[in-house]
Structures are given as C-alpha cells and as structure tokens.
C-alpha cells in the first residue's frame, strides 16, 4: 500500500497543499478562481498544523488497524479492497462525527455545512495525490509502506555521515543513530 510520506525538513508551511486539495477535491469548479467563489467554502482533506518553524502536514495514515472503521455507525468508512485505503462513502455519512473523535491522529475533520466527515483518500481515483503534485518544496512523497524502514535507515546514515564528517564542529556529540 502506498501512503504519503512527509519530509518535515522540506516543509515550509506554505499551505499550498491545503489550498489545492480544497480546490481539487472540495470544489465543484475545480479551478482556484471558481473555487474561491463557491459557498459553502471548499474544505481541504489535508491540514498543515504546527507553527511556521515546525509545520506538520497532516493527512490520513490509512492505519492498518483503523479505529475510525470500527467507530463509524453507518458503515460509511470502509477499507477499499483493491488499494487497502480507508475511504469514506459520503452518501452514507450522517455527520455524527464519531470518527473524528476516534481518529488517533485527528485527521478526520467535520464539515458541518455539508454534513459529512472529511478525510484524505489519497486521491485514490487520480494518478497522483494533488498535494504531492502542487508542493513547491517537494515535501510530500508517495511511498510504499514497506519502504519506510529503508527510508529511515537512509536518513540515519545521512545524519551519521554529517556528524562524522571531517569538518564537524569540535565538541559535537556523536549520536548512535540507527544502530
């Protein structure tokens, strides 16, 4: 299963992902100029939390054991058998917001005006998620879940190399990362 990975060191908190997620997935017009005129205002499925110094783009993790699936009263939240993604069937949602309370990451959002819960479905029916396409810093990346371990090891190695390089500052502690 592919999920959206976030390079936190690249994210600048510009919220371009939020903007175009709302345009592409939340609006009828599908263009920015049309979307900003729509009522109710289109809402994004991704939210950038945190401060300017430590922005954190939040979207659904598609947990392997997803509490929201058990919490949903009407069966609106289901796991897609083909992609393994947790998706919401908006026609079945009764806006009880139970899922929003059960989500451990707080990435299911209520949309009271439309009486549905909003969550990222990783743009399952598109070639690539729109947030990935629009991110100017390329902070978002689509990765296989199994590849995460490999990516972490690579990053640990990079940090080790930086810390052990010849021009390191005197007195810098060498952290035993990745071992």
């Amino acid at each position: 299963m592919k999920v959206i990975g976030v390079h936190l060191d690249r994210c600048t908190g510009c919220k371009t992902c939020e903007l175009y997620c709302a345009v592409e997935r939340g609006s009828n017009g599908k263009t920015l100029f049309k979307a900003v005129q729509e009522s109710p205002a289109p809402q994004p499925r991704i939210r950038v939390a945190g401060s300017n110094e430590t922005p954190l783009p939040l979207q659904c993790r598609h947990c392997l054991q997803a509490p929201c699936l058990d919490a949903c009263l009407t069966g609106a939240l289901v796991r897609d058998p083909e992609t393994n993604l947790v998706i919401i069937r908006e026609d079945r949602c009764i806006a009880c917001w139970t899922c929003t309370m059960y989500c451990p990451y707080g990435v299911i959002f209520p949309w009271p005006q439309m009486k549905i819960a909003l969550k990222c479905d990783r743009c399952a029916y598109m070639e690539n998620p729109v947030c990935l396409e629009v991110c100017p810093a390329q902070a978002l990346e689509l990765v296989e879940l199994d590849d995460f371990e490999k990516i972490f090891r690579q990053r640990w190695q990079e940090i080790n190399e930086i810390l052990t390089s010849s021009n390191k500052k005197k007195g810098l502690l060498l952290l035993d990362l990745g071992r």
Binding site: K15, T16, L19, T31, L32, F33, A35, Q37, A41, Q43
Partner: protein, 495 residues
C-alpha cells in the same frame, strides 16, 4: 487543475515545438507546465502586497485558516492593495519610458480627450493628475491604513496617469504617418546570415548595422526582430515571430547571432548559451563591425537548421503611427463599430488563437478591427492586416495603442463607435494600468487572462461600481475564456 491542451495555432510553430522536443530543449511551455500551479494565494490576491517585513501574510481563501494578516489587514484590503501595487508598477514602467519625467508637473491632455479625462477624474476624487500620484501611492502602500475604496480609486487614477504618460512619451512631431512592418517565418528563408534582435537595443546601433549590411557581400546579412517592435527611422524591423515564439525560433538553428537590448527575457540568453549561438548585449556598446564579423563567423560554423520556411510566408502591413492616420482611415470607411484587440502572447492561451479568431470573426460589414502588440503580429502573419479591401485589420503603434485609437475616435466624433478593447494577454503591469485607465475613461474593456481579484467579492463590486459611475466596464474571467466567449462579450456590448 488547469491543464494545457493546445500550445499554438501556427503550424510552423507546432513543427518547431516537436523539433525542440526531439533536441531535448526546454521552451517556455515546459517551464510554464512545471510552474503549475503558480502561487495560489498570489493569484487570487490574498498574499499581502504591502512592503512589510513582518510577513509574509497570506489569507486562506476558504476561511478555515488565517483570515487577517499580522497587522489586522483583511482580505478586502489585501486584494485592493494588490491591484494598487500592480498599477503602481505599471505607472512606474510608463514613467521610465518618458524621457524627462521630472518635467511633468501636470499631465495635460489633447482635446477632446481633456473633457473625457476631466469627467472621469470628477468621479475619482476630482483633482488633476500629476506625478504626485506616484508618491501618494507609495505612501498608501507604505502601511495598510487606507480603506479598500480609497485604494481602488487610487488604482484607477494611476491607470489614467499611465495613459497620460504614454501620451507624453510621444513628443509632437516625432513620428508621423504610417510605418511598414513585415512579419512571418518566411523572413528566415534563403541562405542569409540572420541576426536576431530581442529587447530594445538603441536605434542608432541597429541603423549602423543596417548601413553596413546594405553593402555588397558574398552572403547577405538580414536583421530580424524576435517579436519585439523595434522602430527604425522609416519603419519597424521585420518580425520573424511573436515574442512568445522567440525561443522556438532560436531552437530552429536559423539565427546566427542574437543582439539583445533592455527588456530581453532571461530565457533567450540561456537558449543562446545552450545552442552555442553568439549573444551580444547592446548595453556593452558593441561595434557594428564586430557584430557582423561574429555573425558571419557563426554562419560558417553552423549548418544545423531544422527550419526551411517558405519565402512566401511573409506578410506586410502598415502600422499607423499617429491619430491623424487612423482618423483618415475612419473618415474614408463607413463603419458602425471598431473593436480593438491587442496584448502580449501568454502561455495561458494557445498562441495566436484569440487574436486571429476574434479578428476574423469581427471584421466585416460595418465592423472594423485594429490591433497592437503580439496580437497585431498574429493578425499580420495570418494576412488579416494586408487585405486589399477596407476590412483589413488596422495595426497601431504598439507604444501608443489603444490611446492612439481613442484619440482618433474622439477627434472624429466617433467615440460611440468604439465597441470595446480586448487585451488578449497581459505581460507587463503597464498593460494592466492601460486597461484600468481606459475603463476609467468610460471604455468597455475585456481582459482575457484572470486578474488577481478573485479573493474579495467586495473589491470586485467596488471596482465595478467605480467604473460604472464613469460609464466604463472592466470584464475579466475566473477561467481562461474561449474566443467565442469574448466574441459574445463584444456582441453584448454592441450598441
């Protein structure tokens, strides 16, 4: 998401696009596609334009994020200030073109434009226009303290000022009558040494080069413009392409040397470097002999030319350089309406599509078309400006149009016959200033590219009301309009 379907209507350009893709060259289209989507907050006007270092402040257009900047400025203030900042830059660009701007204490207008301007200014604060407007605007944009209404009025006043500066730009007695201009890919036919001119090198340098090349030589040398209107003493330099197609032209390998002047896009020197085309900047005060020597040397080295255009693909048109020239034409022809089409190429629309389609559709019985800029070059290339009958598109001096047309119509008492002015593409802020200035004077103006005004409904309404008070209309779209849509706009405005 906005996507690109068709890049240009010109079959030769399409061929060059394919050829460039095979060579692995990246043209303006590739850059445009890679840039998409461009900064959304800026596009709707919700990125704070004030020169403040506390920001950048950006407001969420959908209301779930920040709704005010750090100083407390709301969306209406930001969008209005964005409009003002753009027109401010436009006025500065126009001021730069005036040789002695310091001497302009008060903008004067020739009759009968003076009455029209006075009427318009009455709706916009009353005072006369001077360069003080520039300083006042700079003060407005210093800190966000003025309400949106005030900023919009100031933007409209600056629009009129931009028109006034364009009027000042042409000193009386400078240029009279009409100039000739050739355009088309056919200029590159034959075995000539081709020197491409981009930007605005000094007229003296080009004249000296032309005198030198007129002497007998084994291989003739030809100077062509890469889309810029370069005035000479008795005409414009022939244009091989429009400004949007300049990179495509360079990728063809037919140009042996490029002489660049002020106003050249950075992409052209870059393209020259990647294709090993010698590039000389006119700012370095090069010698004409040296330019010719390098061009001939490059001609001897370069043999790769993927473009072999038909020599017949050249059209010639007369460019009207003063209002009297257009007045004479309007007196000769019986017409009920005149549509003005002009502006720069923009990758947001297929090159040449709107000018050619609209001009072809509009001209006819009692309907005339006049054009300027890249749009005019497209009309010349497609033969619309060189027909023998009275329905040929009239090409206007790119530095004065559409002010030139307005003056001619006002003098001949046919201002009510002006159907509308359509800007097919905006490149410089000056063009936006001209569009706003014309709309402020009561003209129906249409802009075929989206303006960054969609972040505030209040600002859009205020702008509409202010312009309506003076009898003007500024139409802009929340999408890229098709030619048919703009034609309908012209028909709707038909009196």
């Amino acid at each position: 998401m906005e996507t690109i379907h068709v890049k240009t209507v010109d079959p030769v350009s399409q061929e060059l696009l394919r050829s460039a893709a095979q060579q692995g060259l990246r043209l303006n289209w590739e850059r445009y596609e890679k840039l998409q989507p461009q900064d959304g907050f800026l596009r709707v006007g919700l990125s704070c334009p004030f020169g403040c270092l506390q920001g950048p402040c950006r407001i969420d257009p959908f209301g779930h994020g920040p709704d005010r900047g750090l100083c407390g400025l709301d969306r209406d203030g930001m969008v209005a200030a964005m409009l003002l900042r753009l027109t401010f830059h436009g006025a500065l660009e126009a001021m730069n073109d005036v040789s002695t701007p310091d001497n302009i204490s008060q903008i004067s207008w020739p009759a009968p434009l003076d009455e029209i301007v006075a009427r318009a200014l009455k709706n916009l604060g009353g005072d006369g226009l001077s360069l003080k407007e520039i300083y006042r605007t700079a003060f407005f944009l210093h800190r966000p303290m003025e309400p949106p209404e005030r900023l919009i009025v100031q933007a409209l006043r600056l629009g009129i000022l931009t028109l006034g500066l364009l009027e000042k730009r042409r000193t009386p007695g400078d240029v009279r009558g009409s100039f000739s201009c050739k355009a088309g890919w056919g200029l590159l036919a034959g075995h000539n040494v081709i020197i491409g001119i981009c930007g605005q090198p000094t007229r003296e340098l080009i004249e000296v080069i032309m005198q030198r090349v007129s002497r007998k030589s084994s291989v003739p040398v030809q100077l062509v413009s890469l889309g810029d209107w370069v005035p000479l003493n008795d005409g414009f330099l022939p244009c091989a392409c429009t400004s949007g197609e300049a990179e495509m032209l360079l990728s063809s390998g037919r140009v042996n040397l490029v002489l660049s002047g002020p106003g050249t896009d950075p992409s052209l020197p870059e393209m020259c470097r990647s294709l090993d085309i010698p590039l000389i900047a006119s700012q370095g005060l090069p010698e004409a002999e040296e330019i010719l020597r390098l061009a001939r040397q490059s001609y001897g080295v370069r043999s790769r030319a993927s473009l072999t255009p038909d020599p017949s693909m050249v059209r010639e048109a007369r460019v009207i350089m003063d209002p009297q020239g257009l007045e004479g034409f309007l007196k000769r022809e019986s017409f009920t309406s005149l549509a003005l089409l002009g502006g720069a190429d923009t990758p947001q629309q297929p090159f040449g599509w709107i000018p050619v389609e609209l001009a072809s559709a509009w001209r006819g019985e009692g309907r005339l078309v006049a054009g300027w800029g890249d749009a005019a070059l497209w009309m010349i290339k497609s033969g619309l400006a060189s027909d023998g009958d009275g329905h040929a598109v009239q090409i206007l001096d790119p530095n004065q149009a559409p002010l030139l047309a307005l003056k001619a119509l006002a003098t001949s008492g046919k201002l009510e016959n002006l159907q509308g002015v359509c800007f097919t593409g905006l490149k410089a802020c000056r063009d936006l200033g001209v569009a706003l200035g014309l709309a402020s004077l009561g003209v129906n103006v249409c802009v075929a590219v989206p303006l960054p005004l969609w972040g505030s409904e209040k600002v859009r309404k205020l702008l509409e009301e202010k312009l309506a008070a003076g009898g003007g209309i500024l139409t802009y779209y929340d999408h890229l309009p098709r030619a048919q849509e703009i034609l309908k706009w012209f028909l709707k405005e038909e009196k």
